[in-house]
Symmetry: C2
Subunit: 124 residues, 2 copies
DNA sequence: CTTGACCTTCTCACTGATGTGAGACTTTAG
DNA sequence: CTAAAGTCTCACATCAGTGAGAAGGTCAAG
């Protein structure tokens, strides 16, 4: 599969897929003419990458994770990767904190919106 | 209050406070020697800015919001600011989506951790 | 074979929030 | 007065991501 097809199937910009390669997240092979050739499993990998990035993990950590993972479907972590588990636990805590904070922000926004709408309907 | 004191009280880097001024989020006055002089209420304002930034709103939008707000404690929005309400509603939706995605990421991380710990305890 | 549509390559330059450091000036403590 | 601490501006770095441009590859239709 070439880059355009992968971009289309994952919804991720081609430019970004090249960036992920540059960061060591993806390792497509090359055709004779230099075109990147992606494996079917890269579709799933890109999905994982997006999820982890959305969770706020830096690419360097994601690279490490991906190296510890046989992405045979969903079975994971055959390699030892010491320290990684502790790191992941910390990330987990961080995500929890982020969610809590986002909920607070949303609450603040709710209040703001309630006030704003009160204003707006009171003098349209 | 000078910038160091505000930084200390809010936990926000001085550099960042200057950046917020550059972006129009804060408008400290200047002393004769050029030092920034912050008002007591700026402590609360910085808190609001951090919450909104954490929610993913860009500084430009936050500037707009702050201009529509008499920060008399917590009472808000005396100015009309048309279009802002719709914008805020969209941001609200976006935050909801982000929270959902983060929860999914956390779930994925849980699975990863469970597998990892299973591996780790099986062959220590 | 030529043309045109489309795909891919690489490189340079930028964003936005934040970090960091340098060099100059001011204020404060001893 | 001197030293330390605080502040100023300016500039460059980061990190995920975006955009544009120039060059070349691929393929089907004429």
């Amino acid at each position: 599969m070439r880059i355009g097809a992968l971009a289309h199937r994952t919804g991720v910009n081609e430019r970004l897929l090249r960036y992920y390669e540059e960061q060591g997240l993806l390792r497509p092979t090359r055709r004779a003419n230099g075109y990147r050739e992606y494996h079917e499993s890269d579709v799933a990998t890109v999905g994982h990458i997006r999820a982890l990035l959305a969770a706020g993990l830096p690419t360097a950590v994601i690279t490490q994770i991906l190296h510890c993972v046989h992405s045979d479907g969903e079975q994971l972590l055959p390699a030892p990767c010491p320290g990684l588990i502790a790191h992941l636990r910390r990330e987990h805590t961080r995500i929890d904190a982020t969610i809590t904070q986002l909920q607070a922000s949303r609450q603040a926004l709710d209040t703001l919106l309630a006030t704003a709408q009160g204003q707006a309907t009171r003098q349209p």
